[in-house]
């Protein structure tokens, strides 16, 4: 694995996240399912890392495990996840708990869920959903909220009036963009996005992908994008990690993975991508 620093100078570690030997198991009545097995992965500061892999390969499980949102019967059975937030001492994400974890969340580690109907609180206005997270973690910004929220919305191509709306008044794409804006509101070190575009139309998917790329440019966040769509990876990410049956089979630069896959499974994956004869327009 390449260890070339990609983040800003002055950070202690070139990596935002170092996952070592992560095992996640779901215990079911029919025995345990190992959804993630012995996974080692380092996320570089400032990069967009794609996680690819077929359905059921454990991508979502990895995401929720990293976010510490894993619910029973899922359980992390082994491994460590070293997280290096900027300006703070590194922590093992799997060990922190309670208040410590809560403080870490969003200001350092945020989450971009699938843009489904249900991630926004249906009874709160969009602006309130911004406010509560900002005030929670950065109360000092209270005064500037009035301009901060429109600015964040503008960043993802939404009008300020969206702030006054309720989630059910928004389309899927708009919701997804609101989620994106919320995700970067506190300029976290790392944003984990689980299938950020899966539920959306192609046209909107493209817009969202553009905005995601913008986020990195504008906020310098590190992004971990989970998707089963190789097209998304090809268009968006710097590096791809390919998962298969809970294992990481290949990590590499996006070009290298697409042009010269090393692992036989990756090769198969690339081959099976439906190709269009040509690009329209």
């Amino acid at each position: 694995m390449s260890e070339k620093p990609a983040g800003n100078a002055g950070e202690r570690s070139p990596h935002v996240l170092e996952i070592k030997g992560l095992d996640v198991t779901y215990s079911t009545s029919r025995g345990d399912v190992k959804a993630v097995r012995g996974l080692d992965l380092a996320v570089r500061r400032g990069e967009i890392l794609g996680i690819a892999g077929e359905s059921g390969s454990g991508k979502s499980t990895l995401a929720v495990a990293l976010l510490r949102l894993l619910k029973p019967p899922g359980q992390v059975t082994a491994g460590s996840v070293l997280f290096h937030p900027a300006g703070r001492s590194p922590v093992d994400l799997l060990k922190v708990d309670g208040e410590e974890l809560r403080v870490l969340r969003w200001s350092a580690l945020s989450y971009l869920p699938q843009g489904s109907m249900s991630s926004l609180n249906p009874v709160m206005r969009v602006e309130d959903q911004f406010k509560d997270v900002i005030l929670e973690h950065a109360p000092a910004r209270k005064a500037s909220l009035g301009e901060l929220i429109p600015r964040l919305l503008g960043q993802v191509g939404l009008e300020p009036r969206v702030a006054r709306m309720f989630p059910h008044e928004l389309s899927g794409g708009m919701k997804q963009r609101v989620l994106m804006a919320i995700a970067v509101a506190l300029e976290p070190d790392l944003v984990i996005a689980d299938e950020p575009t899966t539920a959306l139309d192609v046209t909107i998917q493209r817009v969202i992908l553009q905005s995601l790329a913008d986020l990195r440019t504008d906020f310098g966040v590190t992004l971990m994008v989970i998707s089963h769509d190789m097209g998304v990876h090809a268009q968006l990410v710097d590096r791809v990690a390919v998962m298969y049956e809970g294992r990481l089979v290949e990590v590499g630069d996006v070009r290298q993975v697409f042009k010269d896959p090393q692992d036989p499974y990756t090769q198969q994956l690339i081959e099976s991508i439906p190709k269009m004869g040509r690009r329209a327009s």
């Binding site: 077929e54 359905s55 899966t198 909107i204 998917q205 090809a234 268009q235 269009m276």
Partner: protein, 295 residues
């Protein structure tokens, strides 16, 4: 003698208070024919809310259109005799969009397959049935022992969708109405699935109405394509023609939005979809309210 499925001037309106007209037209004067001979794949593409699923429901006889008719073998499917109806049901089968809701959470996933076996009399013996099921599961690259006996929530979306494919594989109808069957699948399974569909066409002579918003899939399948927006079919023709020389601006936009699986061929220009957003938001506003019934 195999029959034809024909839509003639189908229009589907839904009541919707809160929009000026009092209703929305989800499907607007749609006509097309699906022929069983020769077997073909016809794709229907369009963005979310354009009326694709509604057409599928019309064709499947789940929803009676407000105007126009769906004809099977020249007869209105809502006026079939008992035996004609049986034949129609046997011949026209769906693969639905949402692999989560397609399973009754109360039952194991096996039931869907067994039900098909029993309802359509595929075989009477239990062991034969099981054999059939396992065969079909393998055909969609599922290990029978991994899925049989499980409850839907214990399977991933992809696994569930593939079970639905296995069902169709088992039934081998003349027409498959596939409503976004691959949107939840990863590329590999998707390709495999599409291959199966093409196989079905070739080997079992099945005609597929393939509904999707994904043009690359359409391209892969080939055959004919219809582009739908706002309930109207705006463009139709052989895939190669439509893809290479799109004439409707909407088709162009669609084509331009596909993420190419080639890192060297990244988008350079930006698109804006504000007008789309508006459209979509309108459609949303018109849709029935979420299930929070007033008591």
């Amino acid at each position: 003698m195999k029959s034809e499925l024909e839509l003639r001037g189908v229009e589907q309106r839904f009541h919707a208070r809160g929009v000026a007209a009092g209703h929305i037209t989800a499907v607007d004067d749609v006509s097309f024919t699906l022929a069983a001979e020769p077997p073909q794949v016809v794709s229907l593409v369009g963005q979310s809310g354009s009326g694709k699923s509604t057409i599928a429901r019309n064709v499947l006889g789940l929803q009676k259109p407000t105007a126009g008719s769906v004809l099977y073998g020249g007869k209105d499917i809502f006026k079939l005799s008992r035996s004609e109806y049986d034949e129609y049901r046997r011949d026209v089968q769906p693969v639905f969009q949402d692999p989560y809701a397609i399973f009754n959470p109360f039952y194991r996933v096996d039931r869907v397959l067994w039900k098909a076996v029993k309802k359509f009399g595929l075989t009477t013996s239990r062991s034969k049935g099981l054999q059939l099921i396992e065969e079909s599961l393998r055909a969609v690259r599922l290990e029978p022992e991994n899925v049989l006996g499980r409850y839907p929530h214990q399977l991933s979306g992809g696994q569930r969708q593939r079970i639905m494919l296995a069902r169709v594989h088992m039934l081998r109808p003349s027409f498959i109405i596939a409503d976004e069957p691959v949107s939840m699948l990863d590329a590999q399974v998707r390709k495999h699935f599409l291959d199966i569909l093409l196989d079905f066409q070739r080997e079992h002579g099945m005609t597929t109405l393939f509904i999707t918003h994904d043009l690359s899939t359409v391209y892969y399948l080939g055959g004919e394509v219809m582009v739908i927006t706002k309930g109207k079919i705006v463009e139709r023709g052989p895939v190669s023609t439509v893809m290479h020389e799109p004439s409707h601006p909407y088709t162009k936009l669609l084509l331009d939005s596909i993420p190419q699986p080639d890192p060297d061929n990244r988008w350079t220009n930006r698109i804006t979809v504000d007008e789309l957003e508006d459209q979509e938001a309108d459609a949303k506003a018109a849709a029935p309210a979420p299930e929070t019934p007033i008591i």
